[in-house]
């Protein structure tokens, strides 16, 4: 039960992000979520797409450093305080967060969060026990 995230190493160069998203577009891959962590030197692009395996092959075939990382998908009611409650639950369960980012789905009115933790199963157990729904990719 996890979402497959594409993680891409991106050098800080003009036009590089356009190249990467262009490759995905050419192959008809749709993006649902995107987050980028950047330093002065490089960026780490994190993507949730509709066909992660295909996207992986496309990017890898073009010489890009890419990895599939399993992240926890958390479904939240779209109202104030929900994320905070979920994070408190994780904290209470001793789960450390590496990073997270949010995305919306057109399928329903809920908000979705991608969570990167050390132990996905443990995080899901904690969240489920606190009454939250986690989703698979």
């Amino acid at each position: 039960m996890a979402i497959k995230q594409l993680t891409v190493f991106v050098e800080n160069r003009r036009g590089r992000l356009a190249e990467i998203t262009g490759m995905l577009a050419e192959h008809g891959i749709n993006m649902n979520a995107l987050s980028i962590a950047d330093t002065q030197e490089f960026g780490i692009l994190r993507l949730i797409v509709d066909d992660p395996e295909k996207a992986f092959d496309v990017l890898k075939g073009n010489g890009t450093i890419v990895q599939i990382t399993d992240v926890v998908g958390l479904k939240l009611a779209d109202r104030p305080g929900e994320l905070s409650k979920a994070l408190r639950a994780l904290d209470g369960g001793g789960i450390n967060l590496e990073y997270l980012y949010a995305f919306l789905s057109r399928a329903d009115e809920n908000a979705y969060i991608a969570l990167r933790v050390e132990d996905n199963a443990a995080a899901e157990r904690v969240l489920n026990a606190a009454g939250f729904e986690t989703i698979g990719g």
């Binding site: 050098e11 962590a37 780490i44 994190r46 010489g63 450093i65 890419v66 990895q67 590496e98 990167r116």
Partner: protein, 424 residues
């Protein structure tokens, strides 16, 4: 001493030195035998060119004792080269050799205007590095008051410099520039210190840097040349003219050769500097190739010294870089990369920022080493940087970059970009 008299002295000493090496260093004896040269063939300094060359590779080959020409019990000291691969070069000294070396350094101090009335602050590193002990000993020989500061701890350097009214400063040019800036930051003007001259070496520096240092410290800045293999600093030094370094020809015979053919070049031509020790006991080296590219001149020097002058090194005939006074070969970085599981595809950028050398190493990140967190990448850069520091003795900044982003020319990576513009 007139040139002819110097050559007569060199002849006398060379004949003995060659005999000494042949009798006591089997490694060099084999080289001579292979070349068909016997000590009897060396009758004058003109016969120097008949002898085989020695290179750093020979010294590594014979590590640690293979070049020793006296019993170990006759030696009183070793010194060693800075940060080279696994096998460093170790030089041995008898008391005679130490005296000879210190004499050479003393000449450098006197040429820079030093006397027994001076206070000489030595902030070259002490220890295995030859800079500290060489100038320290030279200062003793001159009879100056010697401040054995070693390098670093700039606050203390400045306190002693001001309180004890140091008149001469001996260190690397980049440290001299740093001290100059530090004095200014503390509100001192160039005329506030008591310094009159500095002797700066162990790394390449430019005329522009000389002017900066002279201005910031209010002194005359003199260059000094040497290498551990020949004993240390003091093989050559600048006089008041600051126009080329006089080589101590009574202790070292010098030649300039074509680095490709080994042919001796006439005076005034640019080539690789080769030194032959003339009266060393423990670690005599005959025709040692320095890899430094220089020009020699015997033009009359207004200072009156008749010893030949060498230009500042104009480059290297190998790929060695001198960064913060440390000798660095790109192959050392390559070794670390392979040991750490990286492909040996890299780019080195050396620059000088605020008169201090910087070393940036760009390495391609192998796809299987990629992690999805920034801290994961940065910790890999730090780990690799630490391994390079252990090998070289200086800290680099490591940049992991995506594959195929390091330029290759004719299939080979362009490895070194030196932006310091030291030799233009």
């Amino acid at each position: 001493m007139p040139h002819d008299a110097i050559r007569a002295l060199q002849t006398e000493k060379l004949v003995k030195q060659v005999r000494h090496v042949y009798d006591h260093v089997p490694y060099y004896r084999d080289l001579m035998d292979k070349k068909g040269v016997s000590p009897d063939d060396i009758k004058s300094i003109d016969d120097l060119c008949k002898l085989p060359f020695l290179s750093k590779a020979d010294l590594r080959e014979t590590y640690p004792y293979g070049m020793l020409a006296v019993p170990l019990s006759d030696c009183v000291r070793i010194q060693s080269t800075s940060g080279t691969t696994g096998k460093r070069v170790i030089a041995y000294y008898t008391q005679h050799d130490i005296d000879l070396w210190e004499e050479c350094c003393a000449r450098a101090i006197v040429a820079a205007g030093g006397s027994r009335d001076d206070v000489v602050q030595v902030c070259y590193g002490y220890g295995l590095f030859t800079g500290g002990s060489g100038l320290h000993g030279g200062s003793h020989k001159v009879g100056s008051l010697t401040l054995p500061m070693s390098s670093g701890n700039t606050d203390r350097q400045i306190q002693f410099m001001m309180d004890l009214k140091a008149t001469m400063l001996c260190c690397t040019p980049s440290y001299a520039a740093y001290i100059g800036e530090s004095l200014r930051d503390r509100g001192y003007k160039p005329e506030d210190n008591y310094l009159k001259a500095g002797i700066f070496g162990a790394e390449p520096w430019t005329e522009e840097m000389r002017r900066d240092i002279e201005k910031s410290l209010g002194i005359k800045a003199y260059d000094i040349y040497g290498l551990t293999e020949t004993s240390g600093p003091g093989v050559a030094f600048e006089c008041s003219e600051q126009h080329g370094m006089h080589i101590n020809e009574d202790h070292f015979a010098v030649e300039v050769i074509d680095p490709d053919t080994g042919e001796v070049l006439p005076e005034g031509e640019k080539g690789e500097l080769v030194f032959t020790s003339l009266d060393k006991e423990a670690f005599p080296l005959l025709r040692y190739r320095t890899r430094d590219i220089c020009v020699l001149t015997r033009e009359k020097c207004p200072c009156g010294r008749t010893h030949v002058r060498m230009s500042k090194p104009l480059g290297r005939s190998d790929d060695m870089l001198i960064i913060r006074g440390v000798n660095v070969f790109p192959s050392q970085i390559e070794t670390v990369l392979i040991n750490e599981g990286y492909a040996p595809v890299y780019r080195i950028e050396v620059d000088r920022v605020n008169n201090s050398d910087t070393l940036d190493v760009f390495v391609e990140l192998p796809p299987d080493r990629f992690t999805d967190t920034v801290s994961g990448i940065i910790s890999k850069e730090k780990k690799l940087g630490g391994a390079i520091r252990t090998m070289l003795g200086i800290s680099p900044i490591v940049h992991l970059v995506p594959p195929k982003t390091i330029e290759r020319s004719e299939g080979k990576a362009v490895r070194v970009i030196d932006k310091r513009k030291l030799h233009d």
